[in-house]
Point group: C2
Chain length 438, copies 2
Amino acid sequence: MNIILLSGGSGKRLWPLSNEIRSKQFIKIFKNPEGECESMVQRVYRQIKEVDPDANITIATSKKQVSVINNQLGDSVSVCVEPSRRDTFPAIILASAYLKSKKNVSEDEAVIVCPVDPYVSTDYFRSFLKLYDMTVNGKHNISLMGIEPTYPSEKYGYIMPATKAEKADVSYFIEKPDKLDAEKYISQGALWNGGIFAFRLGYILDIARKNIGSIDYDTIFEKYDELKNISFDYEVVEKEDALKVMRFSGEWKDIGSWNTFAEEMYDKVIGKAVLDDACLNTNVVNYLNIPVLCMGCKDMIIAASSDGILVSDKEHSSYMKPYVNAFNQQVMYAEKSWGTFTVLDVQENSMTIRVELLPGHSLHYHSHNLRDEVWNVVSGTGRTIIDGKENTVHAGDVISLKAGCRHTIIADTELRIIEVQFGTDIDVNDKEKHVLYG
Amino acid sequence: MNIILLSGGSGKRLWPLSNEIRSKQFIKIFKNPEGECESMVQRVYRQIKEVDPDANITIATSKKQVSVINNQLGDSVSVCVEPSRRDTFPAIILASAYLKSKKNVSEDEAVIVCPVDPYVSTDYFRSFLKLYDMTVNGKHNISLMGIEPTYPSEKYGYIMPATKAEKADVSYFIEKPDKLDAEKYISQGALWNGGIFAFRLGYILDIARKNIGSIDYDTIFEKYDELKNISFDYEVVEKEDALKVMRFSGEWKDIGSWNTFAEEMYDKVIGKAVLDDACLNTNVVNYLNIPVLCMGCKDMIIAASSDGILVSDKEHSSYMKPYVNAFNQQVMYAEKSWGTFTVLDVQENSMTIRVELLPGHSLHYHSHNLRDEVWNVVSGTGRTIIDGKENTVHAGDVISLKAGCRHTIIADTELRIIEVQFGTDIDVNDKEKHVLYG
């Protein structure tokens, strides 16, 4: 199977665990069958591989997410990087061209496009095999997945199938209805729209040819901003008559808010936290190194990270986005290809950061114009390269980096640094990358 | 008036704002008439000085609180330091000897002993003038203050006066009763016990003579641990027959828990916090530099500091002590005579601390056996003395301090340092103080 996983996410709906860089699909709150923590993207990837070990999976995402994807899925995972963040129509066009140009997928083969964040049993991906077959062999152009509703949700779109058969033509679509309408449509046989699109690769490349005059990945990458910024549903699916829907009746959940997220946490309490006996139906995720004490909390979500602290009634947590947008704060924690950084202290003319480098990894060779930095190496061993000169370093060493000097550090073992930045205009964008010779 | 303010406090009842070093009476959540934040101790001190500008106030406290008292009340305030933390009987004996030995108070003068944390109107201290007079001129030995109850509280002790006159003999005492009993006693005229004791200095020094064979402050300080560790109520008041109680009917509140504390906060929200419209009767105090978002919180207290995060239903907050005791954590924030320190990061073999020095102040001249330190000066100017050698320092300077070296820093302007400690056995007790010559 060829599968495109769409990894989007504004990163605001699970604040403060998610941020601009760290979207909800990367937060490790599930457990895999071996009992290790896993994120949504790890869970979905593992489930697909269980069903089809040879599945050709491509993750379509923005540049910002590449590091964390490689950290979580390994360096060999195939990632189609979008030059800018746009809607699903351009994203699917680009990823389809990627399959053709970079992975030599034939235009006769089918492709299943799937969001990266459905919380489902493995059965769901097992049904992909059938969906794939019907797409390759069918006369229709797009196959969709319809989930049998378990309640009249107002949060989902609906698909009305022509019959109650497992595979049926699509009569029409219903946008998120109110509860009463949802009940009515369900009684008439409507299914939840699972957000899955399957098609033969050639079908979508024809659309690319029409829209942008090319099916070459590099060309479409260059012209990415010329593609209409619209959803694939509006631009393609709703204009298409040759549609089929396949029915699925197993466990399916869209983990889109803290409330649904909390239901699936492997433990109600993650991190340092104590709840008294009067607490009821309350989840705590604490990524800080200080304890959280909860007393008499009912139906609440409490989450703490370097970005902030959320204390919310479960029901209200779905409405957090505008508040979080208003914070407009800098990113205080991020996973990078080389490790992580955590902002510890922000003052007017200084910033203190904990940098953790994975063994064998290094920072980019770079310089700053407006700030000096000091690296206090607190554990591990490695090598610095400063203006071309290499030195070994280990715990206890202190390295001064004046503005303008080019520098990097290479971790020979896991390396932990307290970086103190000094300057009147500290800005994350004050960074020039350089090529390191030799 | 001679007044002894007893400044005790386990520091656990207003966790995480209070800790081993920073008791509730030092937390600035009130406002003075000029609109500036003030703490309980500042409020009480100000109120007494308003009533009697010449009041001779002595604060009886432990060594740990001296710095913060000087920071909040100035260096000229009179502090009687207890060699160890004990109950009110030894504390009052020691403070009385201090008045005699160090402040030359005559044995005929009266002394009023008052806890440092009643939340009252200035009228309360105005009534001290009458209490003082009746103690100096009366034939009885101890005067107490009885507060007219406004509800049948189970949290207070009660005093039963012989009559309903403003000044009356004491018939008997009632320990914290249940609600029904409280109602009964109140109907019979019982008053809340305000925890105030007034006596002639000679009366209490006679007890010191009997108990410890001396009224000399230094001698009692030396023999402090020989004094019975018992409350003044049990050891003195309840054995005394010549007691009078004076009635007070104004505002009086014992701010002993988060719940009562929250009622008097100058603002329901202190620090970076956003509450949605669905929040009701909720207080937030956030001393961290990251935002708190509260959604749908009802009747709650949310408090965050470097020590931890509290999320509590108001009613349950009174039962926090055992949970907080179990944390058994190191102090993450403290006010010192020279400024403050805040722990930013704790790792296995390192610790990162923000040190803020007030202008003109300096650290003790000291050394560590087991850890190296690095001072990253992030703002201000000052001077270091390292193994006797003085150097000027300013923002951007980095100073390495190897284990064993003697060091201090003097702030010429406000000085901010990121101190990184390196070592396998970092311990707050690994500190030797030295005398600085020259």
